[in-house]
Symmetry: C2
Subunit: 156 residues, 2 copies
């Protein structure tokens, strides 16, 4: 079941981010920082919304999204990650669909998902293509030299 | 003379942002919010650096830049604005050159300047082209429908 994340989900969210296999330590730390802001300020004030898919008390995956400042109806999908032990159950698909449903309710027009252009992120890019996202823009050598930014978007 | 902005410059910075003629009220407010963070936390902790060009005690223009999270050497030029009464004195040119010099010192490789694709921002885009920036990417209907995001970059 997908629901809004609450305090008790924090340690499993961090754990999944660390074990997902696609995030650097700096990125895992960033997930933790957004989570702290989400808990202490609330989603409205901090601009980050966390949702989780759970099976009983176990978190199988999470996503984090929020409105882009200074735009009318653009939302960023900041993070989406699935427990490696829960792959092939369409957890990612249900999470991103839930994000899109919530963004639609908030009159969102566009979701942006940024990822890397390296071979390591090929499964991530395939996931976004499979769920209807397109690469609308890219910036060469963004993360480091040889690692381009790929900006996926989906019109809702 | 260009220098790091200090507390006394705050009211003139906000005033220039409001009078520059290119920023919405929401954007002017955003400048004010970044300024408050810069004053209260310092540039290192908040990630925003403000510089000003002054003539005696008068601020003629300001720029705000900072490192992009999760990248190695990418910096955003968040804001650059010149007092309308101080146009045609190359204030903008000196401010952006000073930003680039500071970014180089911090081992920055790329500066990103985001702006709008509408006719109203044609002078802004011309300014970026004139100082060596290129449109590397764009996102359609980003700010609102009909108002595209133009992502200018410069390799240092």
């Amino acid at each position: 079941m997908i629901s809004v994340a609450t305090e008790k989900d924090g340690s499993q969210i961090r754990d999944i981010a660390a074990r997902a296999g696609v995030f650097s330590q700096e990125e895992v730390d960033c997930v933790g920082e957004l989570w702290e802001e989400y808990l202490s300020l609330g989603s409205e004030r901090c601009g980050y919304n966390f949702i989780v898919e759970q099976e009983e008390d176990q978190v199988l995956g999470f996503a984090c999204y929020g409105p882009r400042d200074l735009t009318d109806g653009v939302f960023d999908l900041y993070w989406i990650a699935v427990d490696p032990d829960a792959r092939r159950k369409k957890v990612g698909y249900r999470l991103i669909t839930a994000c899109e449903d919530e963004v639609r309710k908030l009159d969102g027009r566009i979701i942006i998902a940024e990822t890397s252009g390296t071979a390591h992120y090929e499964p991530t890019r395939k996931f976004y293509f499979d769920v209807g996202y397109l690469i609308e823009a890219s910036i060469k050598d963004f993360y480091v030299v040889g690692d381009d930014l790929m900006i996926f978007t989906k019109r809702l």
